[in-house]
């Protein structure tokens, strides 16, 4: 079996459960992200979006089957899951505020052993010139938009197979959000990076996604191709303000 064949499978989650103490947050989710595609999970606050991403990375008390490229990753520790090719940009940026911009990118490549780390850093500085100007500055001193760019670049420094984005639009100005999502779309088109995005901002998210899910109270209530979801009356009413 060649790597390519396995890779076409992408991410598959089956019967994903998660709980905090006695409170069950996810009640058996089934979803997938096809290789090279973008899936989005829509939901209101408290629906379980963040927990879904944390469950994939084994950062909360969860059960169920998660496979990446056909290989079971549900019983691995977080650090090992990262080594298998999952990069996670957590809610609230997830940068290292006391480290310089450059060190943030360097530590993003922590799991890599090749010699091209510095070339990759230079490439990200080309893509995000704002970060290059601030490369010796502490990440904590950046603006919200710059931190989000840094968090994404930091995540991609691991050269992942799958990028998890937790509400990347949160707290950012509309123009910056638009710029950021354009970059996500380009990233997917140019490099074929597989992405799973959770969002409240349904418009933007459905625009960039191939497939979408709606979750409510820890259960998937609706799913389908992104175009189809966009025209679904229930989605329009609940998330698109139509």
């Amino acid at each position: 079996m060649s790597d390519d064949v396995i890779d076409e499978v992408g991410l598959v989650a089956r019967n994903l459960h998660a709980s905090y103490g006695a409170v069950e947050v996810l009640r058996g989710l089934d979803f997938e992200v096809a290789q090279g595609k973008v899936s989005v999970i829509l939901g209101a606050n408290g629906a379980g979006k963040t927990t879904t991403l944390r469950a994939i990375c084994n950062m909360c008390n969860s059960s169920g089957d998660v496979t990446l490229g056909g290989q079971d990753i549900s019983r691995l520790g977080t650090a090992e899951i990262v080594r298998r090719g999952v990069a996670h940009v957590p809610q609230g940026r997830g940068t290292f505020p006391e480290l310089s911009v450059n060190d943030n990118l360097l530590v993003g490549a922590y799991v890599r052993k090749d010699k091209e780390v510095n070339d990759d850093i230079d490439r990200w500085f080309e893509i995000f010139p704002r970060l290059a100007e601030r490369k010796e500055q502490l990440a904590g001193s950046l603006s919200g938009g710059e931190q989000q760019m840094l968090a994404v670049a930091r995540a991609l420094m691991s050269r992942p197979k799958l990028l998890l984005l937790d509400e990347p639009s949160l707290g950012l100005a509309p123009l910056i959000i638009e710029d950021l999502f354009t970059r996500f779309i380009n990233l997917n088109k140019e490099t074929g990076l597989t992405m799973l995005v959770v969002e409240q901002n349904a418009n933007l998210a459905l625009d960039m996604a191939d497939f979408g899910y709606v979750i409510e109270s820890g259960e998937i209530t609706l799913s389908g191709p992104a175009d189809q979801l966009k025209s679904d009356p229930a989605v329009q009413e609940a998330y698109l303000g139509a």
Binding site: P90, G92, G94, Y110
Partner: protein, 316 residues
């Protein structure tokens, strides 16, 4: 009695060398605090055990002093990592109370253990910086050199050079190695560190190891000033180191060293002056201790992040 300015340099030299030792122990506290936001109250006792290891290796087994110190630092590092692995890792890192209680328990256990093995008498430990070595022109064999009309001890110079070297080495480890980068990442944001694939447990163990080795170095350097090693040797040193760390900023390594040095200076100059001129010698050690506590209080009240600590401003 009036203030005699001729003896000021004497006090400053003493203060700076004591301060350097406080700084070393403060650094040991800060290394663990940065990564875990925990005060390790066993820092001093771990260092004391390290000093006793040097005592056993050097005074009893006759090993070369510096080799003994190196071995003791390595064993201390292993002990620190072991404590992290077995006694702190099983606990929820967000819940500080259990782990702080554990470090307090370790404080008592190590103290009692040392008392049981070596009893509470002071045991002489060779001074690594007793006399200038013979290759120093004109000073070989002397204990001090006259500077500004006062005696600058070889011991003080030795302590400063050792601390400077240790700091340089620590800087290299933290800023130039992958483990150091991982440690700084864990100190800054544990969750994100895990998300870039850092094994946070191992990294914290590494921090404990570094901190314990540093503590042992501090204890070995302070021993000659206390007349030797004994199980209670680090009790007050730990308080001064804490004061230094609080003054400099609990999450700033440079601040911890500066804070420690400042505490030493304040003690030596201000408190000795008060002791000699105002109240007499008898109150001196009490005054020194009181000054440290008052300083901790003032810092916590008016500038909780310390002189050099970060206030963690994060824009959203």
């Amino acid at each position: 009695m009036t203030w005699n300015f001729d003896i000021l340099p004497d006090f400053v030299f003493n203060g700076l060398s004591l301060g350097a030792i406080y700084g070393t122990v403060a650094l040991s506290l800060v290394l663990i605090f940065k990564a875990t936001t925990l005060i390790n109250f066993a820092t001093g006792e771990l260092a004391m055990i390290g000093a006793f290891m040097v005592y056993v290796l050097h005074m009893e087994q006759g090993l070369w002093l510096w080799l003994s110190i190196l071995i003791a630092m390595i064993i201390s590092a292993g002990l620190g990592a072991l404590i992290e692995r077995t006694l702190t890792r099983p606990f929820d890192p967000a819940d500080h109370l259990p782990v702080v209680l554990i470090t307090l328990g370790l404080f008592l256990i190590f103290n009692a253990l040392a008392g049981d093995i070596w009893n509470y008498q002071v045991r002489i430990l060779s001074n690594p910086f007793g006399k200038f070595p013979s290759w120093v022109p004109g000073l070989g064999g002397d204990r001090f050199v006259m500077v500004l009309g006062s005696r600058l001890k070889y011991q003080s110079i030795g302590i400063w050079v050792t601390l400077a070297l240790a700091l340089f080495l620590l800087g290299l480890i933290l800023n130039r190695t992958k483990m150091g980068l991982a440690f700084r990442a864990v100190s800054s944001n544990v969750e994100s560190a895990r998300l870039v694939g850092v094994h946070t447990g191992r990294t914290l163990g590494f921090g404990w190891a570094l901190a314990s080795a540093f503590g042992t170095l501090g204890a070995v350097l302070v021993a000659p000033q206390l007349g030797g090693v004994n199980p209670n040797m680090m009790a007050t040193i730990l308080i001064y180191a804490l004061a230094g760390a609080a003054l400099g900023g609990l999450d700033s390594m440079g601040g911890a060293v500066m804070g420690g040095v400042l505490i030493g200076l304040i003690q030596a100059v201000l408190v000795m002056w008060l002791g000699v001129v105002v109240m007499g010698q008898a109150y001196m050690s009490i005054l020194q201790l009181a000054a440290a506590f008052v300083l901790i209080l003032i810092v916590l009240l008016f500038r909780p992040s310390g002189l050099f600590g970060s206030r963690r401003v994060e824009r959203v």
